[in-house]
């Protein structure tokens, strides 16, 4: 395995371990408010390495627990996006003709509205979305690129000899698509999904920061920034630590996506 692939994979494993072990790794409960003393935001100390937020909650514990929420939302919504996108793209490319033309026009329309605006409208107008709603929303607005790429790949593969041969031997359409075409597009899917996770982590953080994503008191990397009045300069720790978590997770997935792109060389199905 190439070294370029190794370090982002290792970092991803660390993130997954943190997400899984958050309750055991955290020094405090994520929403625990001190029972005695003054409730205030305090800078990093031995008791609270990342400091505390204005409600006196331990930022380190919140960041660790936030890992679970932020990664969970990103992973699940990308899973939805990849599934929907693959189905849509495969259908469009495989059947082709008029259906393809119609579906592609629909995709044009969907792609024409900046995703952030859609997320903004839905999450604001429907009020505080519960977590499953947020996952669904991110998933259902994130599949357009997948669909477009898959459609392109399927289109290119449709007339290849081995596919034609499989059909000539009387293999059913669904089986040909499933057994002979889809296995060739997995490099595309893996790379797009990895980069999609990176993008979704950042997007969810942004939405939560605006108060439109994960709702308080639930900790996600974005919501920690938001309900910690992060804009107040004296509380740099509330900005810095969740921010570093976001950037390093996004960077890990981007680096992994880049490395996978070079290793798997998707988009070369026609070669």
């Amino acid at each position: 395995m190439s070294r370029r692939l190794l370090w982002p994979l290792a970092a991803l494993v660390v993130f997954l371990i943190i997400a899984a072990g958050a309750p055991w790794l955290s020094p405090a409960a994520p929403n625990a408010i001190p029972t005695e003393g003054i409730i205030a935001s305090s800078p990093p100390s031995a008791a609270h390495p990342f400091g505390t937020d204005p409600s006196g909650r331990d930022v380190l514990s919140r960041v660790l627990h936030g890992t679970r929420i932020s990664l969970g939302i990103a992973l699940l919504s990308v899973a939805i996006a990849t599934t929907v996108g693959t189905l849509f793209g495969a259908l469009s490319g495989w059947i082709g003709g008029r259906l393809d033309a119609i579906l592609m026009r629909l995709l044009d329309v969907a792609l024409s509205v900046p995703r952030v605006l859609v997320l903004l409208c839905v999450s604001a107008l429907w009020g505080a979305l519960p977590l499953p709603g947020l996952v669904l929303l991110l998933g259902l607005t994130g599949w357009y690129d997948v669909a477009r790429l898959v459609r392109g790949d399927v289109f290119a593969l449709k007339d290849r000899e081995f596919v034609v041969a499989a059909r000539a031997m009387g293999t059913g359409e669904t089986r040909v698509l499933w057994r002979h075409v889809l296995p060739h597009i997995w490099p595309t899917l893996v790379v797009t999904a990895t980069l999609g996770i990176a993008h979704t982590i950042a997007l969810e953080a942004g939405l939560s920061f605006l108060g439109l994503g994960v709702q308080p008191p639930q900790a996600s990397w974005g919501s920690i920034l938001s309900d910690g009045s992060a804009m107040v300069s004296s509380r740099w720790w509330i900005t810095l630590f969740p921010g570093i978590a976001i950037v390093s997770a996004v960077m890990t997935c981007n680096a992994l996506g880049d490395a996978l792109r070079e290793t798997l060389a998707p988009g070369q199905v026609a070669a």
Binding site: P114, W126, G206
Partner: protein
């Protein structure tokens, strides 16, 4: 590849424009339906309004009519440029757009120009030096820049340069005393307000273009015609120009396709820096259930995206003779 039947140039342009118009109409319709399906109305957030008064207002604005009737009415108004009244700003949506849109366009065009120039310079430099230490450092740098969300970068910039160091203003387009300043000081004041939001927006764009230009330059650099250029006796600069000229094609296309993501970034950046543009206004509009303004924001976004992709087409045709008609 399938050969397309050759059509007259002008009819293809018309077809492309009609297609774009369809896309905008469909996006606007979808936005309209979405807003009308949403629970609540612009008065949901106004607990101070008595129920009978609220019903009266609703009737005045046609909210009590069936959705298809509302839609036809809305579309007819839209066709003549009437976006309706903004319930939040209490003035016509078109007037609001007239105010806020240029501010976003200013920010976006500056950010885009800076991103393209910087990104292309960095990427082109890297593309001919793939694998060197300088290339690796810049690649890591642009990967990092590419991975920093604009909103977080915005907060950091505010905390560092505005609040801790106090060098630059943190929010708005001008200072409160702007009106009383002489012209030269006004220009400086405006520029000072631009620096931070522009930086936040430019960093991502630059890294994106740099990544893109690097890979296209690297591909071009390995093409046989680069060897030909050398064999002709060109200087290294001339050889690099040959490679860059072909590496330009995908980057130029990217330029137009960047519009939606840049607008998305503007939503966050404008909110952080209270930049009174389209993005900031969109956030205010949805939070206040200002349907007309929110729909208008979606339409503006869609028009920008569509014109971006038209621009991408035009630019691509301009720099790549293989796609030109």
């Amino acid at each position: 590849m399938l050969s397309r039947p050759k059509r007259a140039h002008s009819s293809r342009v018309v077809a492309r424009l009609l297609q774009s118009l369809f896309v905008v109409w469909a996006a606007a319709t979808a936005a309209f339906v979405l807003m009308r399906l949403a629970p609540g109305d612009p008065y949901t957030t106004r607990i101070d309004v008595p129920a009978n008064e609220r019903a009266q207002w609703s009737a005045q604005r046609g909210f009590d009519q069936p959705i298809p009737v509302q839609y036809v009415k809305w579309l007819r108004n839209l066709a003549v440029g009437d976006f309706g009244q903004s319930s939040y700003f209490k003035r016509p949506v078109l007037d609001v757009l007239r105010d806020v849109l240029p501010r976003t366009l200013l920010l976006m065009s500056l950010a885009l120009t800076a991103s393209v120039l910087l990104g292309m310079a960095i990427g082109a430099w890297q593309g001919t030096r793939v694998g060197t230490t300088g290339d690796s450092l810049l690649s890591t740098g642009s990967l990092l820049a590419y991975s920093v969300p604009e909103f977080w970068l915005g907060i950091l910039l505010v905390q560092l340069f505005a609040q801790s160091l106090g060098w630059l203003p943190a929010s708005g387009m001008v200072s409160t005393e702007y009106e009383y300043l002489p012209l030269s000081a006004r220009i400086v004041d405006r520029l000072r307000h631009l620096v931070l939001p522009l930086t936040a927006l430019t960093l991502l764009g630059t890294s994106l273009f740099a990544r893109f230009q690097r890979s296209s330059m690297r591909d071009a650099w390995n093409e046989p015609f680069v060897q030909t250029a050398r064999a002709k006796g060109l200087t290294e600069r001339g050889v690099r120009w040959h490679a860059w000229r072909t590496a330009l094609v995908p980057v130029v296309t990217m330029f137009g396709l960047m519009f939606p993501s840049l607008l998305g970034g503007a939503v966050f950046v404008e909110s952080i820096f209270s930049w009174p543009g389209m993005g900031h206004t969109a956030v205010l509009a949805v939070n206040a259930r200002d349907y007309n303004l929110a729909v208008a924001a979606v339409i503006v976004g869609s028009v920008m995206t569509v014109s971006g992709s038209l621009l991408a087409d035009v630019l691509q045709r301009a720099v790549d003779p293989r796609t030109a008609a």
